[in-house]
């Protein structure tokens, strides 16, 4: 790899420019956990600087220190060549720093305009501030493709536009340095492209941008320089043009990682799952799944793509046995009960269905319970786990430990509560529990959400191995990359309906992105604004869900 040249370590760059941001020896500990260890970084003005690292590597902590959310234990912050103290967000804003958080900090029932002026009002009366903001937003919209509807309420607009409001908030406060934390996590591919065009425009105007992400593709696409963090330390800062994804992944994880899932061509067998005209209505009487039909065969992985909140979750919940539905579902040719009367998670498991739920912390695990207790959940009536009317805790512990070892859960200690494991290891516990039951059909929801690259690789390998044993796998994920690399067939859902079915070899992210926005005439060229308008129209509820 190419270490950044020596000038990166010196006081100023080779051409004498002063860095927009320079952090020197930043350290921060939360109790015994050292989140940031002696971090130094220099971000040059007018560049897009990526910070990449696994979950828990300390990226967000570092940026929170820069934005005044946390106070560093040690270290200095220099902005444009001057040392500054940033005790709170106010000071960060005054220093010209703006931040777009992963979870937006917007007031849902305020208008766009009110959100923009909040905290940056000119006077005690609102009217003058609001009219000035209206003028400035118009100007910013023209300058940077940051078009928003100033009088729309936040709860009525899509996530893409909400994110633009966050960017506008920062610009309105005069930010020269913009930090974006995992900005594309909630966006469709078209919206992400739009965002990147905005960022390019900002860069062209001399703004400095820090992009925090764990997606290698984004780093390669848009950044000028990239810093890699691992376990609280800054392991490298390199020019993006002089590196490649494989090298970056290795720097992040500390070992070689396979970025592509290696799998042979699927050999689909008999139909294991048949879904016919399925309708699901939620508690509020809103129809979330509107007549969906598809099937999954033995020995194949079917991926369901879609922006979160378009009915995929409800579909998984029905299949997993904890939501009522109308329609027909056949498993191995036999219908399963959808009325909720005779169906629950346990009856589904008896039929050979295993389920890795979308939200492991709420549905997959009980965070305060030990790993071995979590592994027994759902399978607690297994004769192996019982002795008479008592559970055989020793047997469960031993079985859990064996599973943890096979799935490389670290540390492999069954007595630890679920909450003490990292996200990736928690997910491995859930996946181990479900896959080791050797199901006919595996339902997997967001298998790698909040999971680091090393664990993603492992979980993907396990899913493919199950497929190769001739089992059926239904994968639901909002990560398009994951759907495309793992699936043998892709079904796209939008607004509770199936928009189309594609083979991964015969489609691309653009086409899938359009389908995910509910646009089926994918041959025609579409611009981002149109896609977004469509999303806002029909998927407004979807956007809010995220």
């Amino acid at each position: 790899m190419t270490q950044a040249d020596d000038s990166m370590q010196a006081g100023t760059a080779a051409d004498g420019t002063v860095p927009a941001i320079e952090l020197k020896g930043i350290s921060k500990a939360f109790g015994p956990v050292q989140a940031n260890k002696d971090i130094s970084i220099r971000v040059m003005p007018g560049t897009i600087h990526g910070i990449i690292g696994e979950n828990g590597a300390g990226k967000s902590t570092l940026m929170s220190i820069l934005y005044g959310f946390y106070k560093a234990d040690a270290g200095e912050i220099w902005i444009n060549g001057k040392q500054v103290q940033i005790p709170d967000s106010q000071a960060a804003i005054a220093a010209g720093i703006g931040m777009v958080f992963q979870h937006f900090k917007l007031v849902e029932n305020f208008t766009v305009l009110e959100n923009v002026v909040l905290g940056a009002e000119d006077s005690a009366l609102l009217m003058p501030s609001l009219s000035r903001a209206r003028r400035e937003l118009k100007q910013l919209a023209e300058e940077y493709e940051l078009n928003v509807e100033p009088d729309a309420k936040i709860e009525d607009i899509g996530v893409g536009m909400q994110q633009r409001v966050e960017i506008l908030k920062a610009l309105y406060r005069g930010a020269d340095i913009l930090i974006l934390d995992e900005p594309t996590g909630v966006l469709t591919p078209a919206e992400a492209d739009h965002l990147f065009r905005i960022l390019e425009g900002l860069k062209a105007q001399g703004k400095t941008i820090i992009l925090i992400t764990h997606k290698l593709r984004e780093i390669m696409d848009i950044t000028d320089t990239v810093s890699v963090m691992r376990r609280g330390e800054m392991t490298a800062t390199v020019k993006t043009a002089e590196t490649n994804p494989t090298e970056l992944a290795e720097l992040m994880v500390g070992r070689k990682v396979l970025l592509q899932v290696e799998k042979d061509v699927a050999k689909p067998g008999a139909r294991v799952l048949e879904v016919k005209d399925l309708h699901v209505t939620d508690d509020k009487g809103v129809e979330r799944v509107k007549g969906v039909s598809f099937d999954v065969r033995a020995g194949e992985i079917v991926g369901i793509a879609g922006v979160a909140g378009n009915g995929q979750s409800e579909l998984l919940e029905v299949l997993g046995g904890y939501e009522k539905a109308r329609g027909t579902i056949l498993v191995n040719g036999e219908p399963i009960d959808l009325t909720g009367a005779k169906s629950d998670g346990r009856s589904r498991r008896r039929r050979g269905i295993a389920h890795v739920p979308e939200d492991r912390q709420r549905e997959g695990l009980i965070m305060d319970f030990a790993a071995w207790e979590n592994v027994a959940f759902g399978y607690h009536d297994d004769p192996k786990y019982n002795r008479g009317i008592l559970t055989d805790n020793a047997a469960i512990r031993a079985d859990t430990e064996a599973k943890m070892k096979r799935f490389d859960v670290r540390p492999p200690n069954p007595a630890l509560p679920a909450k003490s494991f990292s996200g990736g290891n928690q997910q491995k516990i859930v996946v181990a529990r479900e896959i080791e039951r050797n199901p006919d059909l595996l339902l997997v929801g967001q298998p790698t959400r909040g999971v680091d690259i090393g664990a993603i690789e492992f979980i993907h390998q396990q899913i493919v191995a199950l497929r190769d044993e001739g089992k059926a796998v239904l994968l639901v994920s909002v990560e398009l990359d994951e759907i495309m690399s793992l699936s043998d067939r892709i079904v796209v859902m939008f607004d509770g309906r199936i928009m189309g079915e594609r083979l991964p070899s015969e489609t691309d992210a653009r086409e899938l992105g359009l389908l995910m926005a509910g646009i089926t005439d994918t041959d025609r060229p579409h611009d981002a604004a149109e896609v977004e308008a469509q999303l806002a129209r029909a998927g407004g509820s979807a956007a809010k869900e995220v």
Binding site: F69, A92, K105, L106, V107, E108, G119, L126, S129
Partner: protein, 326 residues
């Protein structure tokens, strides 16, 4: 039923709605900022006692009012400390305040005045007197002979205490502050999403204390009105659930000032009806139990709290202490 009778009921409505309105607006400020305040009842009671006691001792209703406000503010401070600074449970803090006020007022009143937990009767400058507007009639005979406009002017518009007029003026003022000022924008924001306020560089704690403080002042006026205007002195439990009724009215009003005026007027009207069973009997031509009439505002409260009057969306961050997170 003649116009004058209707006007008399409406006149009572305004008098009885005033403490509800003040308490309701107090709750509005607090809850709009995300601090639920079930302790309105206790604060009103404490203010009623202190204002009655100090007005009696000093002979000045204004000093009494100030004492009432001070007492209510002190309890607000406790609520703020518990729920903002120490991030405690707002309901528990509020309930504690209610118990504290309910017990302390009676005990202290007994110890100071020895009249069985009440203050002595207030008279003269120790009470708020009705303000008679120029040209308004006060003699009931003259009024009966006057024209409808003069009747409305004399009976309904003239003849209230200063607190009634102030309370009515606070309605548009509250609306203006909430929706037309920087402070109002921030106050509403902190009740909806304190993280947005925090990241905008504004103090969440400061805003919430300000809101709780305003709540304390308004509740103090409401309590003082009970003891020094509506009645002539403090009696035990004289708030009679008005704090809870104000909360129900607040929900009914969907946390909006003008709706709050209408909601509290409705409750005031029901209370006014209970004072005149004779009119009801004449209108309906059968006798309605007085107890049933007395219970009407409380029955309406239960109906509102059970959610029978449409969906009311409370401020989204209401009841939740703000903890900074990544």
């Amino acid at each position: 039923m003649d116009l004058l009778t209707i006007l008399q009921i409406l006149d009572s409505t305004i008098r009885l709605a005033t403490p509800l309105l003040l308490a309701c607006l107090a709750g509005l400020f607090s809850e709009r900022a995300g601090i639920f305040d079930i302790g309105l009842e206790g604060k009103m009671l404490a203010a009623a006692f202190l204002s009655g006691a100090i007005a009696f001792v000093t002979g000045s209703v204004w000093l009494g009012l100030l004492a009432g406000i001070a007492g209510s503010l002190a309890l607000s401070g406790i609520h703020g400390l518990a729920s903002i600074t120490f991030r405690g449970n707002q309901l528990i803090s509020g309930v504690a305040i209610n118990f504290l006020a309910s017990g302390l007022t009676v005990v202290v009143a007994q110890s100071w005045f020895g009249q069985g937990g009440r203050t002595p009767q207030l008279a003269g400058a120790a009470r708020f007197e009705p303000i008679i507007w120029p040209g308004a009639l006060t003699n009931i005979r003259e009024m009966q002979q006057a024209g409808p406009l003069q009747q409305i002017y004399s009976e309904l518009i003239s003849g209230h205490t200063i607190v009634v007029y102030i309370a009515l003026l606070i309605v548009p003022l509250t609306w203006w502050v909430l929706f037309r000022t920087r402070f109002g924008l921030r106050l509403r924001a902190v009740g909806e999403n304190p993280a947005a306020v925090d990241t905008a560089g504004i103090s969440v704690v400061g805003l919430r204390y300000a809101a709780v403080g305003i709540c304390g002042v308004l509740t103090g006026i409401a309590g003082a009105y009970l003891a020094t205007a509506l009645q002539a002195g403090f009696t035990r439990e004289m708030t009679a659930g008005r704090g809870y009724i104000a909360l129900a009215a607040l929900i009914f009003a969907k946390w909006r000032p003008w709706y709050a005026l209408m909601a509290t007027m409705l409750f005031g009207f029901l209370q006014a009806l209970a004072l005149r069973p004779d009119i009801i009997e004449r209108t309906l031509s059968f006798r309605v139990q007085v107890q049933l009439l007395d219970a009407l505002p409380y029955i309406l409260t239960v109906i509102i709290l059970a959610g029978f009057v449409g969906k009311a969306i409370p401020p989204r961050a209401g009841g939740e202490p703000y903890v900074k997170e990544r």
